[in-house]
Symmetry: C2
Subunit: 392 residues, 2 copies
């Protein structure tokens, strides 16, 4: 893993969760980086979401992100907001930065206030450790119920040299659209203009994170920050911007896949593709109804070629369509056509494919231009295990 | 259990499922009964739904309902429709009835055609057994994944005598609104006019079955038939109609509760009440977002006073509201107010209450007139067990 130029990381066990686990992390750019931010649309945005949104709006650049796990600092009222600002001031002082240049993120339990005495004690030591950890160390420090650290990187050769992108994410529960329920940080050493960077980040999120679902729940803390600091010395303008966007889509796409793969105990990743709808909105509605169906999810978990549940979900999606025009395939085997199951012996045909992790579900609903693609997890015992006892 | 006058039942093991299990049932009224029917809104209605809808529309009265378990006769195309009609004709001939007077219902696996040779063999014997079983025998014959038979009865003393109502239902999976995903049959010996009977049935379903959710999935076969045959000799007109409706709401309400209680492995029944919304539609949207949230459902299963997940669900329901006006109580203990958790020690306060089966969740979202009540099941290992292997 080759970190984009100009970025360094620091982590520490501040005691927010337990003594033996890193739970506070900072990523610092050695120079101002143009910033982009995408945030939860939940009506209860956490304090770091409110503060981060404000800072991204106020400045084109930032120098660092500061992230803790353990306490989400959500539903913490005015005190939570003040605490969030205070942690940024303390970090600024410890790292020799301007507090306005640090973007905050928190993940963990909703409700409790930040443990300010622990922050105060930890921050100077965190600053002393800058550069002593790598991207994986940073990623591990912000994990909660994640089963594995999520990182993706990409280098692109442009006229003028190589530009590197590194994306890291955490998140497994409360994963749904409207800006994935998670934290994601992208570090890039391209020299790119703020407006362009923000545009390609927005577009890339729409094509990736907003198209995954684990449990349909959207968290209070979803945040993506993307920093591009220009340390590569490679100017990205004009046509190269499309290449940068493609690379960003690839990095975020990999992270989005990992989020579903790690969907709090997911054993399967359904790749749901809806085509032929009257509009993209209709296609999305159908894809989400199928992807959120508990019955479809448990069938996938049980390796059951239960096309009836897929068809029933299509039928209740609220999208008007001709039932006889619908075709459904699972793992490339056509299960349903002309209002009837096909004559294939799909239990036999699908026995092996359904043992795999990645299960394509292709749903053609007519001849319209609308299509949509969604990644969805299955629903099994591990999901229940993780979520029935998260707080304890 | 006192069966309403004039109704009798027959059951048989026709071999649709296994040799030792009754899977075909008929309920017959000794005289024409005014009929009411409510059906699934899924775009893939099963053959018996199409035929039943047609017959209820064509005639004010019916004499019988014929129900099988094992094959749902859904997604079976023209052949399925023809088979459904054929079974009614065979039953008419065996029971000495007019085929137009028999209402069909099917439940089971989606896709396979009815096993017509088995129907042909079973129906004459079914007719010979009429009156040799009781309401519970009828109910057990139509069960699929149900853990227990669902029956509710009620007698009402009116001027002129007593009127009796008996409701039976099956259903545990694919339970959601839009006419509960299930089969339900109501037998009543009141003398009531068709239009009035259909009106109070429609209203009662709206207040009961349409307000329960297990998994958000709506089946292809949902059907309620209600027959009132007048055998009590008690005319129900004018003001008594309200009493009859109240009794019907009570009977259907009990059955709806049982559907959630038996929500394919449910251990809890959440009684979600949303008040103070701008409209009933808004209140319903919030209640359904909370009731469908996998994270809320798993928290209830895990006996976890996780108010954060309830609040996060309210916040993503799409209903505009003042976050600080929202108050959330669980089992009567106020957890959230003014955008913050309350100071109560709710883990201690709720430890005992959360062991119970019935868990009230009260959500006040403002000062508006809109309110809604929804029953929802939890989500635990038993749900996964039942649904990951239903077909096998």
């Amino acid at each position: 893993m080759q970190i984009p130029k100009g970025f360094s990381f620091a982590v520490i066990s501040a005691g927010f969760r337990s003594k033996n686990r890193n739970d506070l992390a900072m990523a610092v750019s050695d120079r101002p980086a143009v910033s982009a931010g995408t945030f939860t649309q939940n009506l209860y945005p956490a304090a770091p979401v409110l503060v981060g949104r404000e800072r991204v709006a106020a400045r084109e650049t930032a120098r660092a992100v500061l992230v803790n796990s353990g306490q989400a600092n959500a539903c913490t009222g005015e005190e939570g907001l003040a605490n969030c600002r205070k942690t940024l001031e303390m970090a600024a002082s410890a790292f020799g930065l301007d507090a306005e240049d640090i973007l905050p993120g928190s993940t963990g339990v909703i409700g409790p206030q930040l443990l300010m005495d622990k922050w105060e004690k930890a921050l100077p030591e965190l600053a002393r450790g800058l550069g002593k950890t790598d991207a994986e160390g940073f990623t591990r420090a912000i994990m909660t119920t994640d089963a594995f650290p999520k990182m993706a990187e990409k280098g692109i050769a442009l006229e003028g040299g190589e530009v590197r992108l590194l994306g890291v994410a955490k998140g497994a529960g409360m994963i749904c659209p409207n800006m994935a329920t998670m934290l994601c940080f992208v570090f890039c050493d391209a020299d790119v203009e703020c407006a362009e960077w923000r545009r390609i980040c927005r577009e890339a999120v729409g094509l990736t994170f907003n198209r995954v679902t684990v449990d349909g729940d959207t968290s209070t803390n979803d945040t993506m920050y993307a920093l591009a600091n220009g340390a590569s010395g490679v100017r990205v303008r004009g046509e190269s911007l499309a290449l940068l966007k493609d690379a960003l889509v690839e990095v975020l796409g990999s992270l989005a896949y990992m989020l579903v793969q790690d969907g709090e105990g997911a054993s399967k990743v359904a790749h749901i593709t809806v085509t032929g709808a009257a509009s993209e909105e209709d296609a999305e509605k159908i894809a989400r109804t199928v992807g959120h169906s508990q019955l479809v999810k448990t069938a996938l978990y049980g390796r059951d070629a239960n096309w009836g549940r897929i068809v029933a979900a299509v039928g209740r999606s609220g999208v008007p369509l001709d039932p006889n025009a619908v075709r459904v395939s699972l793992c490339g085997v056509e299960l349903f056509r002309n209002g009837r199951p096909t004559d294939l012996d799909f239990d036999a045909l699908l026995e092996e494919p359904l043992k795999g992790r990645d299960l394509p579900i292709d749903i053609e609903v007519g001849k319209g231009p609308g299509s949509y693609r969604l990644l969805a997890s299955d629903l099994g015992h591990e999901y229940v295990d993780v979520n029935a006892s998260y707080r304890s």
